[in-house]
């Protein structure tokens, strides 16, 4: 407990702004982490509009950051203001000469009531005796919780990267060296490899499929077993790109199997259906969805019809 100059009892509580990673080995690391959070807080403050001022635009904020001219956090501004007031001789009472910015303004409070930022980034929050009435608001500090933020667009690519990372060559060595590579780097490499394989696949498919798409559709439409197989491959998909993916995946599975054991007649037949689908897809305008939906129409007939219409 401390006696404030005005006679108001105040209690100073410290929110321990624990440095990022409670295991921070050294004080220097803790200080660096606090400094990083401070910069993050300053950037957040810059792009946040308050009653007192509009948010800075992104171009200006990036420019300030690039010049190392990171704006002060609201808490730092408060300290500056308190200091100015002290120098102006207003610290001991009277209405503060400087209006506090935005949400941190505490009506009726004295400069001595202001939150103070410590060197390690923690904040001393001043709690005024209840008899004074209004409680000061806590500063809007940047969030310091450590958590992995995963971009929702990336999990699939990352999964591929991990798969590739886990693969080994014939002699048991890792297929990809992960040394000095971040998950993001691995993801980019995996995505590039996936694209390369897709192009290779497209080249092979096209080289093998020079037949007539109407004939291909007929192969499916004329044989109920083939129509059933085609329907299974479509799996309810009607968009050419999605159907193309289903067919390519199914083909890859069969080709993979063919490397270790001969394909059965049924599987060879399935491969023919897949190739026929790929040929049909390649000759359809991409904006025209296939007609086969939910098994209502036999896939082969639908494919044949779609080709016939085009």
């Amino acid at each position: 407990m401390a006696e404030a100059p005005t006679g108001v009892k105040t209690e100073v509580k410290t929110q321990t702004g624990q440095p990022e990673g409670a295991n921070a080995a050294t004080a220097a690391e803790a200080k660096a982490a606090a400094n990083n959070r401070k910069t993050a807080g300053a950037l957040t403050a810059a792009i946040t509009s308050t009653d007192a001022r509009p948010a800075a635009d992104l171009q200006t904020t990036l420019g300030d950051l690039a010049r190392g001219d990171v704006p002060s956090t609201p808490a730092e501004k408060l300290n500056d203001i308190a200091e100015q007031q002290a120098h102006a001789g207003l610290i001991d009472g009277g209405t503060p000469a400087v209006t506090l910015p935005g949400p941190l303004a505490i009506e009726g409070s004295k400069p001595t009531d202001q939150p103070k930022v410590n060197e390690d980034g923690s904040v001393d929050a001043v709690v005024v005796d209840e008899t004074k009435g209004e409680q000061p608001k806590q500063p809007d500090l940047p969030n310091t919780i450590d958590a992995q933020i995963v971009d929702e667009n990336l999990p699939a690519v990352r999964e591929t990267a991990v798969e590739q990372y886990n693969q080994t060559t014939d002699d048991g060595a890792p297929a990809i060296s992960a040394a000095d590579k971040t998950p993001e780097q691995l993801a980019i490499e995996a995505a590039a490899e996936k694209d390369r394989l897709a192009i290779e696949q497209a080249k092979t498919d096209l080289a093998n499929l020079t037949g007539n798409p109407e004939d291909a559709a007929k192969i499916i439409a004329d044989d109920p077993e083939n129509a059933q197989t085609a329907e299974e491959i479509l799996a309810g998909q009607t968009e050419p790109a999605a159907v193309n993916k289903n067919a390519t995946d199914a083909l890859a599975q069969l080709e993979e199997k063919a490397k270790t054991k001969p394909l059965t007649e049924g599987e060879k037949k399935k491969m023919g259906v897949i190739k026929a689908i790929l040929l049909i897809i390649a000759t359809l305008p991409l904006t025209v969805p296939l007609v086969a939906v939910g098994g209502a129409v036999a896939a082969g007939v639908a494919l044949g019809g779609a080709v016939g219409k085009n």
Binding site: A66, N153, E184
Partner: protein, 152 residues
């Protein structure tokens, strides 16, 4: 659970502020053609550059908060990104973002976010072109498109 909620809340709040700041930036650029030209050659590109800036700042702020990036590195990324402007076309944007992502750990996510839709569009364009060629019986041309040859 509580920590995760707090983190999500904080992320959403940051996202909200960044969205608003991006909107303000776009409005400012609309009113100041000279400044807008410093970002990109066309209004659509200028808007996209602002979107990139938004993603970049979000990544920087998150990484700083998580202590995965130092303030010095944040400054370096900002400086390097601004030196890449103006952007001349979509391909130029992706090439420059790729360059930025290679040189700065953690910026790969920003590159991927913009590269994926472009790659998808490009794939659709190629498939459509291949389809047209095949309709006209031009198998060789379709193969050229598949191989990614210049005329494709």
């Amino acid at each position: 659970m509580y920590m995760a909620d707090m983190t999500n809340q904080s992320t959403n709040t940051l996202q909200h502020h960044l969205d608003a700041a991006a909107q303000t930036t776009k409005q400012k650029m609309n009113q100041n053609p000279a400044a807008a030209q410093a970002l990109g050659d066309t209004p659509a590109l200028q808007d996209e550059v602002v979107d990139v800036e938004k993603e970049l700042l979000q990544e920087i702020i998150n990484r700083l908060n998580q202590n995965k990036m130092s303030s010095e590195d944040a400054q370096k990324v900002a400086k390097e990104f601004l030196s890449l402007l103006p952007i001349h076309d979509q391909k130029d944007l992706l090439a420059k973002l790729y360059q930025l992502s290679k040189a700065n750990q953690g910026m790969q996510g920003v590159y991927l976010k913009f590269a994926q839709p472009y790659e998808e569009n490009e794939k659709q364009r190629k498939l459509s072109l291949m389809s047209q060629h095949l309709h006209q019986g031009k198998i060789e041309e379709a193969l050229s498109v598949a191989k990614g040859e210049p005329n494709g």
